[in-house]
């Protein structure tokens, strides 16, 4: 075959189940128990309302900079819903909805966003990794975790989240390649929210889709409507099932949109139009899913209103709780902890010097 097209074993598909109006493609409807559907719906609402509240708190100066998730709730929850507690969840920094689903308390989110490391502490019974700020770097940790779960002969999997921007980092490449080679049970969930701060995805890569990058690693890749929680769920289910059955990793590209600022330090007016945002407003993942649930007879306007006020109460309690808890935090001496299992001698000296210094300065009332 002197000049022939090479037949690549994997193909890249696009999946959408609820269309933009919330209408169902019944042939593709995933089999999700009613209880789970309702749990997902509440989680969507809670995440949305909590995000709005955080923005509000930030504007009031009651928390620091944070990355809102508005618009991306379905992409996160549809995927993470497939995990068991013993599975591993490896987030980037914009996965608040997924983290909450996985048991992270709202209080801890507020505390972390106030610059207290206490807010990043992970309860012993949750296999979540803390937030990872360096873009793409956490992807490799998921590969190690997934590999380890397989080595220990469990059928646990690791699911890691990252953005469209992260696909440009070397660590994305090395991570997916390692996962392919070692057939690690990892689900790579890319939230293509169209922007990496000010860079549109079209300038992030010349690849037509992000999903097709899977072809470079000999793994299946799928692009789904990330604002369609049923599609995300269906794709994630296939991927998780494969991973549990030791059939290797999958790359899922959830096409979604970052409705709000990149972080509260960002001004999106500098790089995108309101018109574009409006277009995506019509594709709201919550509205669509609600319509589906109402059509299914599982929800009504009243019930939705009831859930809304319930989650608002939960959020208010978390804000109050966090603000109460933070009163007890802030002793800077804490910063010397957790560097190593045992504190090295020279660091002990530094800590002691710090304590003396603070004490003496308070005594002297000397402020320079």
């Amino acid at each position: 075959m002197p000049r022939n097209t090479i037949n690549i074993p994997d193909k890249i598909e696009y999946l959408s189940i609820l269309n933009e109006k919330g209408e169902l493609d019944a042939g593709l409807e995933p089999d999700i128990p009613e209880e789970l559907l309702l749990k997902l719906h509440r989680a969507l609402l809670l995440s949305r309302k909590f995000d709005e509240r955080l923005l509000n708190l930030q504007r009031q100066g009651r928390i620091g900079t944070f990355p809102p998730i508005n618009g991306q709730e379905a992409a996160q929850l549809g995927a993470v819903a497939l995990l068991r507690p013993s599975d591993w969840m490896v987030p980037a920094f914009r996965e608040t909805a997924a983290e909450i689903w996985r048991g992270r308390s709202l209080e801890s989110v507020i505390i972390y966003n106030n610059g207290y490391s206490e807010g990043a502490e992970i309860p012993q019974d949750l296999n979540n990794l803390p937030i990872s700020v360096p873009v793409g770097s956490q992807i490799l940790h998921a590969v190690g975790l997934g590999w380890a779960a397989k080595y220990r002969q469990t059928d646990d999997v690791a699911m890691t989240f990252f953005g469209d921007g992260a696909t440009s980092e070397g660590d994305f490449h090395e991570g997916l390649n390692f996962a392919g080679v070692f057939q690690a049970p990892v689900i790579f969930v890319c939230q293509n929210n169209h922007w990496a701060i000010s860079l549109p995805v079209a300038k992030q890569t010349r690849s037509k889709t992000l999903a097709q990058k899977a072809l470079a690693y000999g793994m299946p890749g799928i692009q789904v409507d990330g604002n369609d929680i049923l599609a995300v769920y269906a794709a994630a289910k296939e991927a998780v099932d494969r991973a549990r059955a030791d059939q290797g990793p999958t790359l899922i590209e959830c096409v979604t949109y970052r409705m709000a600022v990149h972080t509260t330090a960002d001004d999106p007016k500098r790089y995108r139009t309101e018109k574009e945002v409006d277009k995506w407003r019509k594709r709201d993942p919550i509205v669509r899913f609600q319509k589906y649930l109402v059509d299914k007879g599982l929800l009504s306007e009243d019930k939705i209103a009831g859930i809304e006020s319930e989650v608002l109460e939960v959020i208010q309690a978390a804000v109050d709780g966090a603000e109460e808890k933070m009163k007890a935090l802030g002793d800077p001496i804490d910063m010397f902890e957790h560097a190593y299992a045992e504190m090295p001698a020279y660091l002990k000296e530094q800590k002691e010097a710090f304590v003396t210094e603070v004490a003496e300065m308070t005594e002297e009332g000397d402020h320079g």
């Binding site: 620091g64 900079t65 920094f93 972390y112 106030n114 610059g115 207290y116 490391s117 937030i131 700020v133 360096p134 873009v135 793409g136 770097s137 921007g165 992260a166 440009s168 980092e169 070397g170 990496a196 701060i197 000010s198 860079l199 300038k203 992030q204 890569t205 330090a265 960002d266 500098r270 790089y271 935090l329 802030g330 800077p332 804490d334 910063m335 010397f336 560097a339 090295p344 020279y346 660091l347 530094q350 800590k351 710090f354 210094e357 003496e360 300065m361 000397d366 402020h367 320079g368």
Partner: protein, 326 residues
Amino acid sequence: MAKMTMVQALNLALKQEMAKDDSVIVLGEDVGVDGGVFRVTDGLINQFGQDRVLDTPLAESGIVGMSIGMAVYGLKPVCEIQFSGFSYQNFHQIENHAARLRLRSRGRYNVPMVLRTPYGGGVRALEHHSESRETFWAHMPGIKMVIPSGPRNARALLVSAIRDPDPVIFYESKALYRAFREEVPEEEETMPIGKPRIAQEGKDLTLISYGAMMRPTLEAAAGLKEKDGVEAEVIDLLTVSPLDDEIFVQSVLKTGRAVVIHEAPRSFGPGAEIVSRLMEKAFYYLEVPIERVTGYDIIIPLFSREKAYLPNAQRIIRAARKALSN
């Protein structure tokens, strides 16, 4: 002369060098349309177009590796790494290549690039956004490591860095970006890379620092003057590496006492080299041991506790008094 913040002064430097020399290319994440997350590159893309100001994909090794290629070609890339905490992603490109291409090619090629990156604490930022790790670069032969301390010298040093035939890591203190304004002349101004300056003359004690720490250092000097009648000589390194020790050695030969201040972790930090140079060149003139006032040997804590980590005027005064006590 206009009064400018450091952000404005750096922007002026870029604007003027780009206008003057079409081999100057700016690239990095969000440096174009967005004008940089701190707005240092604001407006450049409008003035010079997207061939001169490149919004790159999100990949630091890519940015630096591509800059190296451009520089070998003869261009003068000025790349921005959004925070110094993410410059470790491109560490190998600097160590393996930027630092070595002149040597490797025996002078046939050089790498006249500048890597600008915000460093240091004090602005209540997220994890990885407040580090100060100039030692990493200072310990790389072939690299120059520059840290300005105010708008005017930032502008002049950036111009010099762009014109420098060798790779320069240019740390910009986030805490200084908008902290104060200085007169910055519209006319071109440069400053020699590799030369510290005497920020304030004095005879009793030498305070050696650079970058953001110059502010608490000068504040401490003023406090010492006011309260203790002590005249501190204050040295601003400006270039951390190659470290020129002449000025601070001369100063300590005169004062016999010194305090070194930096926000980087203490152990294996820049202060250690300064102390060692003084050990070598001023030992017999030292009245007392040199004090180090530095960050602690820990990762700088999240923002609610970062103030406790960062050296401040009180800590410097305490150390100075200790150095003066014998």
